[in-house]
Amino acid sequence: MIAAIAEEATQSLILEAKDVHKWYPNGFHALRGASLQVQRGEVVVIMGPSGSGKSTFIRTFNALEDYQKGAIQFDGLPLGNDLRHIEAIRREVGMVFQQFNLFPHLTVLQNLTLAPMLVRRRSRAQAQQRALELLTRVGIAEQAGKFPGQLSGGQQQRVAIARSLCMDPRLMLFDEPTSALDPEMVREVLDVMQGLAADGMTMVVVTHEVRFARQVADRVVLMADGEVVEIAPPETFFTNPSHERTRRFLDQIL
């Protein structure tokens, strides 16, 4: 009975980071034993002051940053130095960057079809059909033939989200997706993300958008100085946090 419950719990667990430490080559101790568990279908928002290691932490989840101590597992697959595991995990984990990182020499449609055709071996027609579906979903199907440089920041970030979705990921990582946007474009990107969450996508989001965290997150995480300080549901996190450090942080941003 207990074993069955435990097994169900591990089955719905999609990402587990345990006691992760990272030192940069210059000796800076960026992550000091950070741990996090993400369940399938859950939206986790990571907040924290700048330099707290939240971007570094989320980037270890698809091995864009390596770590020296601890363990990360994605869907039961250990994420260490084994390149085959790393590439298998990257195929299943989508990432959206602060600076969009669209490929400027390719059209929007080509940006979306490149990885499915190369990595998933889909035919051009299949990849294009899926790409157009997703562009419609993020509301910019009419821009498919344009180059990224011809779009606004908000449109570019929506293209970047669609590009990740083209690989049908099981987990989406967002690294400050709205921080490089002009204020009037933040809403359109957050709306797309909210829609994704409503459709049941598992998401880990590093952001400063309090409203988004309150409305969409299942749990909110506070990171400070490379450590996870507090994990709580949004109501508790914003109104009645248990840690002094969280209270100080909220005082500064609210």
Binding site: G145, F147, R163
Partner: protein
């Protein structure tokens, strides 16, 4: 009062011309004086050159030696092979041209290739019509040149029509025709496979120059890209190896390396394997150019933000796929002007081969000038040489600028 309506017309072209002159050249007294002095000296120089070229110069030296300057002492009975090669090249070039101008734009309706390629076509036709009679070539030879030009234009027209139906992939596949033609050309020039061999010592003139330059350009490109990637690699042996190669080659003058190559390659390789002198020189040129090209590519790679590779990797692409599809296309586009600059100086560096005794364009020209029949006609020969080199370099430069515009998504006309 008549019923005449006074309408304001835009100033006529003569008026605009006057306005432009006043504004740009004669705005102040000092400007005017400067303009007059400069225009005067330019006209005087031009007049002097024309007077020498038309009245004093004896162009017989070029007319009588045009074949020698073109292909050196290539045996007469085998020259049909070179004509065949010229026809093949014209057909391939015409086909590529046609395909490129039929390309559709990805971002909006319309064709990619600029409209002014008609001017290029007209210039090419004019050259093929004017030069052969000016050189006093026989009707048969002039006819062949005309046929080559007509073939090129016909292929350009034909593939321009067909290309619209073939789509973008056809161009990628067609690019593979070029290596095939190049290898075929090597066989045609060299002999073998049933053709009478022609020793490389008998190759010469413009043909040898272009052969050396194209060989070095084609091979130094992949080598240079690999060296540039090696220099940025995280694998130390590869990185150090690339750095040592690049810095050693860039630290030595080309002429030293050429002499070194002529003398050392024979000792390094067991007897019989050492390539002939022409090929030794070609390899030295390649090795030399690759080091400089690597630095150009490296500057291009450095201009591409890390985020590009991170995005490619996070989508599941391997490092090689990320380089091939994301980083290199952008980096090479950034490095293109510098790379073409390297190619142009490589073409000009082939003249150094005359110092190690190869009969390329300059070497052939010097034997012509040493011929007692043509003593003293240095001006005519050197001017011809300069014009030939200028044409080749200008073609490279124009081609690269067209390519640059075509590859740059940020300079699309509707972006402004």
């Amino acid at each position: 009062m008549g019923n005449s309506v006074t309408r304001e017309l835009p100033p006529g072209s003569l008026q605009r011309c006057k306005d432009w002159l006043r504004k740009e050249l004669f705005a102040t007294r000092l400007d005017g004086l400067l303009s007059l002095v400069l225009i005067g000296s330019i006209l005087a120089a031009l007049f002097g050159l024309l007077r020498w070229a038309l009245l004093q110069a004896n162009w017989a030296v070029i007319q009588l030696n045009s074949t020698l300057l073109c292909i050196g002492r290539y045996p007469i009975e085998q020259q049909w092979r070179l004509w065949l090669l010229a026809f093949l090249l014209a057909a391939t070039a015409g086909a590529s041209w046609g395909l490129l101008r039929s390309c559709r734009r990805a971002d909006r309706p319309g064709l990619l290739w600029p409209r002014n390629d008609r001017i290029a076509a007209a210039v090419l036709l004019a050259v093929c019509l004017i030069i052969p009679p000016a050189l006093g070539l026989s009707i048969a030879i002039a006819g062949r040149w005309l046929a080559i030009a007509v073939l090129l234009m016909a292929m350009r027209w034909l593939l321009g029509r067909i290309g619209r139906r073939l789509g973008a992939d056809a161009i990628k596949w067609f690019a593979l025709v070029w290596p095939v033609i190049y290898l075929l050309g090597m066989v045609l020039i060299n002999g073998g496979f049933g053709l009478t061999p022609v020793a490389s010592a008998e190759w010469g003139g413009l043909m040898l120059t272009l052969l050396q330059a194209s060989f070095a350009i084609l091979l130094c490109f992949p080598l240079g890209v690999m060296l540039a990637l090696g220099r940025r690699s995280s694998y130390p042996l590869l990185r150090w190896g690339s750095v040592i190669y690049i810095e050693f080659i860039r630290g030595a003058p080309l002429i030293t390396l050429l002499f070194l190559g002529q003398n050392i390659l024979g000792f390094l390789l067991p007897g019989g394997l050492a390539p002939e002198r022409v090929w030794r020189a070609a390899w030295v040129l390649t090795i030399f150019a690759a080091a400089y090209l690597a630095e150009a590519v490296r500057s291009g790679l450095a201009a591409i933000p890390n985020g590009q590779m991170e995005a490619a990797r996070s989508l599941g692409l391997s490092t090689a796929q990320g380089l091939q599809h994301v980083v290199l296309p952008q980096a090479l586009r950034v490095a293109l002007p510098v790379m073409v600059g390297q190619f142009i100086s490589l073409l000009q560096d082939t003249t150094l081969l005359s110092l190690i005794g190869l009969m390329e364009l300059l070497g052939t020209a010097r034997t012509v000038m040493a011929n007692p029949d043509f003593l003293g006609h240095y001006g005519e020969v050197y001017l011809t040489l300069a014009l030939l080199f200028w044409c080749c370099c200008a073609a490279l430069g124009l081609g690269s600028r067209a390519l640059e515009r075509r590859l740059d998504p940020h300079h699309l006309p509707n972006l402004r």
